[in-house]
Symmetry: C2
Subunit: 143 residues, 2 copies
């Protein structure tokens, strides 16, 4: 039996369980880096924002960098592991837009490389077909 | 300012905040439908499983169907909205496998259409390039 507590999906959900974390991440993907800008855009309390930034930094999702001295000021930049969460963000956005939104998406994504409104989809890296759950099967690692 | 409580990403996270929900969903994507099979595979208590199935049914993710009478027995089948969560599941699995796993993925996905081990990636539906956060920009809906 697969041990629930150790699966990848479960660990990733745990990371995002703090609602403020997912909001801070969303802003970070939109290139927000500074405390005051996060605060202004999210409208959450400074103490919640502060503890969320600390937690994401401790988890290796954000990197805290000094950008000014006297007084010292820090900005928060996505690490490689943080940037790698972008597909999770995209997938949740697409689902929420389709199934939970009532009057269209709040945010429309534009792919700069082709300059169009983009609706990214998961495709197989081998045959390039859009992935459907019904086309997938799996093997379990030996224990 | 975007209202945090109403964003698509936030609403999708809320749905998955219950750890048991994400586990039940994972099994559902692997075609598990019956209470006893969920219970056997997940090793969670019957009461937690029961309330999780009820909650996912109320949220329109699972459909409860009678498959046997006298005694009545039900199975739980993914709805269209439930199947549409598959990219969220895939994205979280890929991230967890890369960043949280210590000894390789527990589950290896195989794409039946091309019969290979698949590492699905988000691609732009217009130009087919793999999506990176740094290549995306966005517009906000007028309010």
């Amino acid at each position: 039996m697969v041990q629930p507590a150790t699966t990848s999906v479960q660990r990733t959900v745990s990371l995002l369980q703090n609602g403020a974390s997912s909001l801070v991440l969303r802003e970070a993907f939109f290139r927000v880096r500074r405390f005051d800008e996060f605060q202004k855009r999210l409208g959450i309390s400074r103490s919640v924002l502060s503890s969320t930034l600390k937690s994401l930094t401790e988890q290796g999702i954000l990197d805290r960098r000094l950008y000014q001295q006297r007084p010292d000021r820090y900005e928060y930049v996505l690490t490689e592991s943080g940037r790698d969460l972008y597909p999770v963000f995209l997938a949740m956005k697409a689902w929420g837009d389709r199934w939970l939104g009532s009057d269209g998406p709040e945010v429309t994504l534009i792919h700069k490389l082709c300059a169009t409104t983009s609706h990214p989809a998961f495709t197989c890296d081998h045959c390039n077909t859009v992935i459907r759950a019904s086309d997938m099967t799996y093997t379990l690692r030996d224990r």
